[in-house]
């Protein structure tokens, strides 16, 4: 589904990703682990199409298509979803209005029929309950005054509403206490399926106790320096990044 080959990405002229290669099949959950500054967020932003992230060489192929040729909104319509590390607060746009606008924009782009406000509300309510996203939160301005945990739960609610094919979770665990983490992980696990691929990006092994990946890649200094099964997370936790990064260098 996703094939990244020898990807080099520069931000403000500085190379951050230096030859990253990775491929994910439908139905799989992969994790990217890495220390601060390894290029994790750059990878997530370049996949979502954020301006200012320049691909200097290499390629990203998504379902046979050059992902880099697509605008962020086109990627979303084609099933790419990035759960952001820092969801943005947007005063003046209510959460429910935003969800309806986004859902219908994606449907419109895919040539599907738009859904009315009532149907969106019903669908959102059903999914919100499991994530403990309250009715009151849906009426508030998007992310405004939400706690860290509420913001992350809303990201997962969006993921469940938009039903993406490729979900990228950028440090979804950061800033969460253990109860919030479990809630978010349950939400993510409920969305695992044979049609869907997930890329879970995290600094800590803790999240991977709850979202168990099929494969782990260790990112350091812009490259994948180690790969393995779920047990790699525990090795990292026990021995630290320096051990593995150092060995690879």
């Amino acid at each position: 589904m996703l094939e990244i080959k020898d990807l080099h990405v520069a931000v403000d002229g500085k190379e951050i990703l230096k030859g990253l290669t990775l491929s994910i099949e439908a139905g799989q959950v992969h994790a990217i682990m890495g220390p601060n500054g390894s290029g994790k967020s750059t990878l997530s932003y370049v996949l979502a199409g954020r301006a200012g992230y320049e691909i200097t060489s290499g390629s990203i192929t998504y379902n046979g298509e050059d992902l880099n040729a697509l605008k962020p909104e086109e990627r979303a319509a084609k099933g790419v979803f990035l759960a952001m590390q820092y969801p943005v607060e947007i005063p003046g746009v209510t959460t429910l209005t935003f969800l309806k606008t986004a859902l219908n924009a994606q449907r419109r782009a895919r040539g599907e029929k738009e859904v009315d406000a009532m149907t969106v509300l019903k669908t959102v309510r059903k999914r919100a309950a499991a994530l403990k996203v309250s009715e009151e939160m849906l009426k508030r301005a998007l992310n405004v005054g939400f706690s860290g945990g509420e913001k992350k739960r809303l990201e997962i609610l969006q993921m469940s509403l938009f039903e993406p094919k490729l979900a990228i979770l950028d440090e979804t665990d950061s800033g969460l206490d253990i109860d919030a983490l479990k809630l978010v992980a349950e939400g993510v696990n409920a969305l695992r399926g044979p049609e869907r691929a997930m890329l879970v990006i995290t600094h800590y092994q803790r999240l991977l106790d709850y979202i168990v990946p099929d494969r782990i890649h260790v990112l350091a200094k812009g490259r994948i320096v180690a790969e393995g099964g779920k047990e790699l997370a525990h090795e990292l936790e026990a021995k630290g990044y320096e051990h593995i990064v150092g060995k690879a260098a």
């Binding site: 979502a48 199409g49 954020r50 605008k71 909104e73 943005v88 947007i90 005063p91 746009v93 924009a105």
Partner: protein, 372 residues
């Protein structure tokens, strides 16, 4: 003029002298730094009579045509031309032969009343609300050429005046309007402005909170594109204590347009327990657009609350990316963010149908402001 009009001659002569002494404002005068009137009007003058039309009069409202000053009733004689006048208000008072006066009788709740201005030249308007009266005045500014409109609002004890001012886009027009407003004890004046800009457009408010527990609440949005210019300059004087003023202005400036807000607050000596808040924000949609926001405080009392804030910025790149990453196309995402930016100011309007009218005007003006 016959002898009956004598009461006005003296006031007009004084105004003419004031204008002669002050002259047409230009950008070297601090208050006109961002709006160069002299250059904009060139050789045009305001001596013609602009036109006005007043819609159906609600019950309890009396209308007097100022073309017939000799027959002016006592309430017109008592108030017309009595509030403070700057250079342009002096000019409109000295030159205007057209205009009207409105009075809302004691304890009458009237409105909405629609007023429209057109053509070029001067007009004089007097609005008097007697004790306990209320009125919603919906003004539409459609003048062309150079127009200079001088309005006086006398808001009596415990009266309520809500003033909606719609100024749709007028590319070639130079539109100047001065409002002199006096607010008595327990009375409230509310103004909601919409500007799409003109060649030069300026709405100038000189508001005196003259009685305890009076309030002035101003809000507005400007949505400007192309070469449009819109200037809102306010001066609110807290003349006595226990008075309140709030101002909230949001401006969108695209193309090569210019949005100006100057807000001066004066709290006079002894006007303790005055409370004043003003916020002005502008979003620049074009690299050559300009916004000038200048809040100013002059406080001569000790026990007052005054807060002000001004900010000029671009559309937030993080917000834009977030919306696009959720599938919302760029143009739609930008529109969403712009509407969200304006919403707080539009929401100040209590009446739902007026709010809808303002939103429609915003929708009409937005494509021009968003165009590169």
């Amino acid at each position: 003029m016959n002898a009956n009009a004598h009461w006005l001659d003296e006031r007009r002569a004084e105004a003419a002298n004031r204008f002669a002494a002050l002259g047409v404002p230009h950008r070297r005068i601090e208050d006109w730094k961002y709006s160069d009137l002299k250059t904009a009007i060139g050789s045009a003058n305001d001596e013609a009579a602009a036109s006005w039309a007043v819609g159906a009069l609600p019950d309890g409202v009396e209308l007097f045509d100022l073309a017939n000053t000799a027959a002016a009733p006592e309430w017109v004689r008592a108030h017309l031309g009595t509030l403070p006048q700057n250079a342009l208000a002096s000019a409109s008072f000295a030159h205007a032969r057209a205009g009207f006066a409105l009075r809302v009788a004691r304890n009458k709740a009237a409105g909405p009343l629609h007023v429209e201005f057109a053509k070029s030249g001067s007009i004089r308007v007097l609005v008097v609300l007697e004790e306990g009266a209320s009125l919603t005045l919906c003004e539409t500014q459609k003048t062309d050429g150079y127009s200079n409109l001088g309005l006086e609002f006398v808001v009596g004890v415990n009266a309520q005046l809500t003033h909606i001012r719609m100024a749709p886009h007028a590319a070639g027009a130079v539109q100047v309007e001065e409002y002199a407003i006096q607010i008595a004890r327990d009375a409230v004046y509310r103004a909601h402005l919409f500007n799409a800009g003109a060649k030069l457009g300026r709405a100038e408010f000189q508001i005196a909170l003259a009685g305890e527990n009076s309030g002035a609440h101003l809000s507005g949005v400007s949505v400007l594109g192309g070469m449009a210019h819109a200037d809102v300059s306010t001066h609110i004087i807290h003349a006595v204590g226990h008075t309140t003023s709030t101002q909230l202005f949001k401006h969108i400036a695209g193309g090569k347009s210019r949005a100006v807000y100057q807000g001066r607050i004066t709290v006079e000596q002894g006007a303790d327990k005055s409370d004043s808040r003003q916020t002005a924000k502008a979003l620049l949609m074009g690299e050559r657009a300009e916004a000038d926001l200048k809040p100013e405080l002059e406080i001569f009392a000790d026990d007052v609350k005054c807060a002000h804030g001004a900010a000029v910025g671009d559309l937030d790149a993080n917000s834009l990316f977030y919306l696009r990453a959720r599938g919302i196309p760029e143009a739609e995402a930008r529109n969403m963010l712009v509407r969200a930016f304006l919403e707080e100011a539009v929401d100040e309007i209590a009446d739902e149908s007026i709010r809808a009218t303002v939103w429609q005007a915003v929708e009409d003006a937005l494509p021009g402001a968003m165009a590169p």
